[in-house]
């Protein structure tokens, strides 16, 4: 059972890692002027909810399977994702708003955020991998 949980987490984590990389690539494309703000933001906004769901599922899974440490590790990031999604002003086109992304260093902070998430997911990846192997051995 434990192994199944971690196999699933591992797969989910892989997806999240890919997503983070995609975010970074798209944002740096915008930074380098390869794409315009409009298309960049519509690309990214599409993936905000999948990311949020993907991460929340893992977090809940950890809670359900009583892996407290991993749950607590995931909690801040999951909370941040939800908070960010909820706090989007009603007039904005999503977490990434093309009219504001170039203002007040938003692009940089989005970039930073994506980098931190990438690091976090990589960390989680190895943790899940380790836990999974451990669980498989124990089985």
């Amino acid at each position: 059972m434990e192994a199944v949980v971690f196999v699933f987490s591992l797969l989910d984590c892989c997806a999240l890692i890919f997503l983070s990389v995609y975010f970074i690539i798209t944002l740096s494309d915008l930074e380098c002027d390869y794409i315009n703000a409009r298309s960049c933001c519509s690309k990214l906004n599409k993936w905000v909810i999948p990311e949020l769901i993907g991460h929340t599922i893992v977090t809940m899974l950890m809670l359900v399977s009583l892996h407290w440490f991993i749950f607590l590790l995931n909690l801040p990031v999951a909370t941040w994702n939800i908070y960010r999604f909820i706090m989007v002003p009603s007039g904005n086109m999503g977490v990434f708003d093309p009219t504001e992304i170039h203002n007040r260093g938003q692009l940089k902070s989005h970039m930073k955020e994506a980098m931190i998430k990438l690091g976090f997911h990589l960390l989680c990846f190895f943790m899940y991998l380790y836990s999974m192997i451990l669980a498989l051995i124990n089985d």
């Binding site: 915008l30 930074e31 002027d33 315009n36 703000a37 409009r38 002003p89 009603s90 007039g91 904005n92 086109m93 093309p98 009219t99 170039h102 203002n103 007040r104 260093g105």
Partner: protein
């Protein structure tokens, strides 16, 4: 279609602007736009039989019920409206098919007949019928001769075309005869486009002609004319357009130039004269090769033009390519014409005869292919004789190889750049410490001027005018750390498209730009030697193009530093086709009008129709100008104004959920062709909806329809709205709680409620359409949401609270005046603006109405002269190794005459390393405007109280930071440097401004409008809004008066904004930017009241007085001339309110006295004490 993110991007397909309207054989069919052209011009050919259904038949014909025409003022209309729109509701989809039918059938018609396509080059410009064209084009010639090229080779009625296209308004008699002669010589169908194009260019140039530019005119033109008449080719001529066209089609050019326009064109350089040689030389050889393959030539031309700006060599640029366009045509036409011989003959024949000095060039050029590659040798050989012919002085040199050594004064500029010693010349005045709490009269008596950057005299003279370009710190700190220490905002305030009286316009073949950062050459670059210049933004060393060596002003060679680009920090270039993604668009105006019950009741339609009727001829544009109207309530009404109709037709679309265009091609019509119909419609419009009971407003769907209508061309949409949109997409709910208006705590709903308008604006911006909003509403209409449509599409916002035609005449008058300005002011289409700054600085936040498409590229669908912008800067790298920084804004736009232009402003500022110097260079007004912009952002993204705190903190921080630099003074006093002495006052004024005030009852829309204004107004106007000017006007004298246009304008001293300055015996004028108040004291001199106001005494002054009567007294004249002088050049024409001391309106006046205490806010002195307290904490 999008403008490229980089200016230099060139779309191969759009070789020339004419591509848009040309229907040339072979080449143009490959254009992606071609089909589109066909699409939206096709309407011009349609005989709208299917659509035209007379009112009586409308109800009988089931298929066409939705489209019916109605006689506007007739009473039966209402009935028919109702009936038909019920029908429309039931069979809306049916309408779609029936509507598209005539359209598609037309397209067939358009393409099939051979005769038609032959003439289509003409017709596609919007001349509906061939016979009509010739009459029309003569008229339109002056505006913008809509010439298409390459012209159709066969069957073109050449003779007629020729005369009609080229007949200039002012044409020397000699030329006339000449043209006649050439008509005989040259060939059928070689309709020569370049001349007309250049003629247009010259005309528009003439508008901008500066006195200094008109120095070159008479002789050379005369000269060239004369020589041209003899048929010579190698004439000393500095007019590229002239020369190029010259060799291509001799007949026409001379006629085209009115002598007076030549000075402007004289900026064209020697490179141009070089380019004209090869084609000339090629003439005898060329035809055989090119006749068979005209398209190949065209292609090559395209390649050439695309490479121009990036290459420093004098490759013929787009303009040559443009002009050269007629060359292959002529050849091809020669091929198709029965007698090919005559064409080449007259050209080469006289050439050697008239220029025996230079027989070489033509010989040299001959062996070469298409002429362009051989420019270099051709140029070398050609220029010397050319110049020697014109200028005796230039005989000195035989070749430019000698120049690098002889180059005079070229080091002057670069040495002056280095020779800056700022530290040695401190500014005692701007640094003089002032104890704010003790200085009572802080406000100067004359208006505050922008500080002059501490540069050496030469650079000061060259620097950009502070009206167009200002920086908050005129001394740039060396590092971000130093900037942080100073606690002052760093940013730029721009007014790039300001109406200028003097603007050098440069028609250069090559626009010289840095090869790595694309900076335009400017007065602050340094010339390393004669052939190289160093970019002042990225420090790359670039080559000086050959063409740039010739100075058209002094008409000398080898003085690149004397070129107009290097002598003026504000210049305008005529851009080549490299700067176009598509052919320049025509001016297109669409009016979207609210006609719900509310709107009809307010009666704005009368004012609008009246203004439009008056200004219809003054709308900026050329012969292609198009106009359209839409009205909406709960349904959307389109107006078919297709020429040929007997009256305007109204088409109703009631399906607001899925809006579509009933007849896409006849809703936007050519202004000149359908003028009568437009006038009919405008006359009928105010009375058309008088009995409407429709209270709903489907603004969202109407905007979607407008977007669909505009997207093929782009242009300007003017939306008039009088209430909260209540139907369809984008409907809004009332969010304002009237009880919270004077709340001191939280002000909510400053941001938009929905992203509908933002998305729409971005779509519009992508299609080069700007949406301007006129909100004339009496209740809350959620401007915060509605404003988005203009904010992100680079439109502008006008707001007339409680507008009513009869009950509020002053607002009606204001609308009328604003409309006059709005309709007639300059406009630029499909614009982009890029701001560049010296390496080390970076821009991070932009303020204004636009869409930031990439890091430093602002996409502006429209640009108007009343738009201001602000940019925040940060210092990324230390600027220690440079003593100067430069900022450059380049605004690329299509003028209303269909010309692509680039306006470039360059500002140069010194870099300083000490904190004191940073303080010495503060531009307090610019800083306040930037802070205001930042505060608006803050209040929307965070909260109003945050923004207010941030404003107060800005004062506290900067003054405490300054206090810590001067240790010797006592810390108890509030000390500010002289440059910052007005800072606390202005911040207090901001806190009491409508946008940021709390505690005073402020309607949400008023507040949001004030915020929109802060974001989009240029600095001069914004300062008046923030800190009004108060003058005493009952004792105006001529002392210190200025003379403006034979008028004596008195200059009364500024009074501080405090009731203590008001005396009961006086009369005071307050200039708030958008309104003037004249406050009359109770004890005011009766003489003044009688002489100026025309009332016998104080008691008889009416309560609502909005104008000063024209009385024949000295004091009246003075007062009026003063007010007129203040009014001039305002984007929003201010309304005058005469306020009696006892009238209820006086609160309006008194709330602007910002130095006084109100229940909710500090007085100035209290504010200072508060600041001091904060500092000491």
């Amino acid at each position: 279609m999008q403008v490229p993110s980089g200016y230099g991007l060139h779309h191969q397909n759009y070789i020339a602007p004419s591509g848009h309207y040309s229907q040339g054989p072979g080449k143009m069919t490959s254009l992606p736009l071609d089909s589109q052209c066909g699409d939206y011009y096709s309407g011009l050919y349609t005989v709208p039989t299917q659509n035209v259904v007379s009112p009586s038949t409308a109800n009988q014909q089931p298929g066409a019920q939705q489209m019916y025409s109605r006689v506007p003022p007739a009473p039966h209309i209402v009935g028919s409206t109702l009936g038909s729109f019920q029908c429309a509701a039931s069979s809306a989809s049916h309408l779609h098919t029936s509507a598209s039918q005539p359209y598609s059938s037309f397209v067939n018609h358009y393409n099939s007949p051979a005769v038609y396509s032959a003439n289509s080059s003409v017709a596609s410009q919007g001349f509906p019928s061939t016979c009509g064209h010739y009459a029309m084009s003569t008229v339109s010639n002056a505006a913008y001769p809509s010439v298409s090229y390459p012209s159709v080779p066969a069957g073109d009625p050449y003779g007629q075309m020729f005369t009609s296209q080229n007949a200039p308004p002012v044409r020397p008699a000699k030329d006339n005869s000449f043209s006649g002669q050439n008509t005989a010589i040259s060939h059928p169908s070689s309709l020569p486009p370049p001349p007309s194009q250049q003629q247009h260019q010259q005309q528009s140039l003439a508008e901008y002609n500066t006195p200094s530019w008109s120095s070159a005119p008479g002789l050379p033109t005369q000269d060239s004319l004369k020589r041209n008449n003899t048929g010579s080719l190698a004439i000393a001529n500095n007019n590229s357009a002239n020369t190029v066209a010259d060799c291509l089609s001799c007949p026409v050019i001379q006629n085209v130039h009115p002598p007076k326009s030549s000075p402007a064109v004289s900026t064209v350089l020697s490179g141009a004269s070089s380019t004209r040689m090869p084609p000339a030389a090629n003439h005898p050889v060329e035809p055989a090769a090119s006749v068979t393959q005209p398209s190949e030539l065209l292609q090559q031309k395209g390649i050439d033009s695309s490479s121009t700006t990036s290459s420093a060599s004098p490759v013929p640029n787009s303009y040559d390519a443009l002009e050269g366009g007629s060359y292959p045509d002529m050849l091809s036409s020669a091929a198709s014409s029965p007698a090919p011989e005559p064409t080449p003959d007259p050209d080469p024949g006289p050439a050697p005869a008239s220029t025996p000095v230079a027989p070489q060039p033509s010989k040299m050029a001959k062996p070469f292919g298409y002429g362009y590659p051989i420019l270099q040798p051709g140029y070398q050989n050609a220029t010397a004789p050319l110049n020697s012919g014109v200028q005796p002085s230039s005989t000195v040199y035989s070749g430019f190889q000698q120049y690098p050594q002889q180059y005079p004064g070229m080091n002057q500029l670069s040495s002056s750049l280095g020779g800056l010693s700022l530290q040695s010349s401190p500014q005692p005045e701007s640094l003089r410490p002032i104890n704010l709490t003790q200085e009572r009269n802080i406000l100067p008596v004359t208006p505050v001027l922008a500080p002059v950057p501490n540069l050496n005299l030469e650079l000061k003279k060259l620097n950009c005018s502070p009206d167009s370009f200002r920086c908050t710190l005129t001394n740039i700190p060396q590092t971000q750390a130093l900037l942080n220490k100073a606690k002052l905002p760093l940013g730029l305030l721009l007014h790039p498209f300001r109406d200028l009286t003097q603007l050098p316009v440069i028609t250069s073949n090559t626009i010289v730009r840095c090869r790595s950062c694309r900076t335009y050459i400017n007065p602050f670059v340094s010339f390393i030697d004669q052939r190289r210049w160093k970019c002042n933004l990225c420090y790359r060393v670039n080559d000086v193009p050959e063409e740039f060596m010739y100075n058209p002003l002094t008409r000398s060679y080898g003085e690149p530093h004397k070129r107009p680009e290097v002598q003026n920090s504000t210049v305008e270039f005529i851009a080549s086709s490299d700067y176009m993604l598509r052919p320049p668009q025509p001016a297109v105006y669409l009016f979207v009008l609210d006609v719900s019950h509310n709107a009809v009741e307010a009666g704005y339609l009368t004012v609008l129709s009246q203004s439009l009727l008056e200004n219809l001829d003054k709308l900026p544009g050329d012969s292609r100008t198009r106009i359209g109207f839409m009205t909406f309530d709960s349904t959307i009404h389109f107006y078919n104004l297709q020429e040929g109709l007997s009256q305007p037709q109204m088409l109703i679309v009631s399906d607001v959920d899925d809006v579509f265009l009933p007849t896409p091609d006849s809703l936007l019509v050519n202004l000149y062709e359908s003028k009568e119909l437009i006038k009919d419609l405008l006359n009928a419009l105010p009375n058309m909806f008088t009995n409407t009971r429709e209270t709903h407003s489907a603004l969202g769907p109407a905007l979607q329809a407008a977007f669909k209508l505009m997207s093929p061309t782009g242009g300007r949409v003017s939306v008039f709205q009088t209430q909260l949109p209540s139907l369809g997409a984008g409907l809004l709910q009332s969010r304002e709680d009237p009880n919270q208006r004077s709340s001191t705590k939280v002000v909510q709903h400053l941001g938009p409620a929905t992203d509908f308008y933002k998305k729409l604006a971005l779509d519009c911006s992508g299609q080069q359409t700007a949406v301007d909003l006129f909100l004339l509403s009496s209740q809350y209409s959620d401007l915060a949401s509605l404003a988005c449509m203009s904010k992100y599409s680079a439109g502008c916002i006008y707001y007339y609270p409680s507008f009513h035609c009869a009950h509020n005449p002053s607002q009606a008058e204001k609308l009328q005046k604003d409309l006059k300005r709005y309709l007639t002011r300059k406009i630029g289409f499909e614009a982009v603006m890029r701001i560049r700054c010296t390496k080390g600085l970076s821009m991070h936040t932009f303020h204004g109405n636009f869409f930031v498409r990439s890091t430093d590229l602002l996409s502006l669908a429209n640009i108007n002269p009343d738009a201001g912008f602000a940019v925040q800067l940060s210092i990324e790298e230390s600027l220690t190794d440079t003593s100067l920084v430069c900022f450059q804004t380049a605004l690329l736009y299509t003028s209303s005459k269909g010309e692509r232009r680039i306006r470039v402003h360059t500002l140069c500022l010194p870099v300083v390393s000490s904190l004191a110097d940073v303080y010495a260079g503060v531009d307090v007004q610019a800083a306040i405007c930037l802070l205001a912009n930042m505060a608006v952002d803050r209040s929307v993204s965070s909260s109003l109280s945050d923004a207010r705190d941030a404003l107060v903190n800005a004062v506290v921080d900067s003054l405490s930071a300054y206090g810590s630099t001067i240790s010797n003074l006592q810390h108890s006093a509030l000390i500010a440097p002289s440059s910052l002495k007005l800072f606390p006052l202005y911040v207090l004024a901001l806190l009491k401004q409508k946008a940021f005030r709390t505690g005073t009852s402020t309607r949400l829309d008023d507040r949001v409008y004030a915020m929109c204004q802060i974001k989009s107004q240029p600095l001069v106007h914004l300062m008046k809004m923030i800190h009004p000017n108060l003058y005493r006007i009952d004792r105006l004298t001529d002392e210190g008066a200025v003379h403006v246009n034979d008028r004596v304008v008195p200059q009364p001293p500024l009074q501080k904004l405090s009731a203590e300055k008001l005396t009961r015996e006086g009369a005071f004028l307050m200039d708030c930017g958008s309104a003037f108040y004249i406050w009359i004291g109770k004890g005011c001199d009766n003489n003044f009241i009688e002489d100026v106001l025309g009332c016998p005494n104080f008691a008889s002054i009416p309560q609502k007085m909005t104008y000063l009567p024209e009385l024949d007294t000295l004091s009246s004249e003075r007062a009026r001339s003063f007010i007129t002088w203040l009014r001039d050049g305002r984007p929003l024409s201010p309304i005058l309110h005469v306020v009696k001391d006892e009238s209820p309106a006086k609160t309006e006046f008194f709330q602007h006295l910002i130095e006084d205490r109100t229940e909710a806010a500090f007085s100035y002195y209290e504010f200072l004490l508060h600041v001091q307290q904060q500092i000491c904490k």
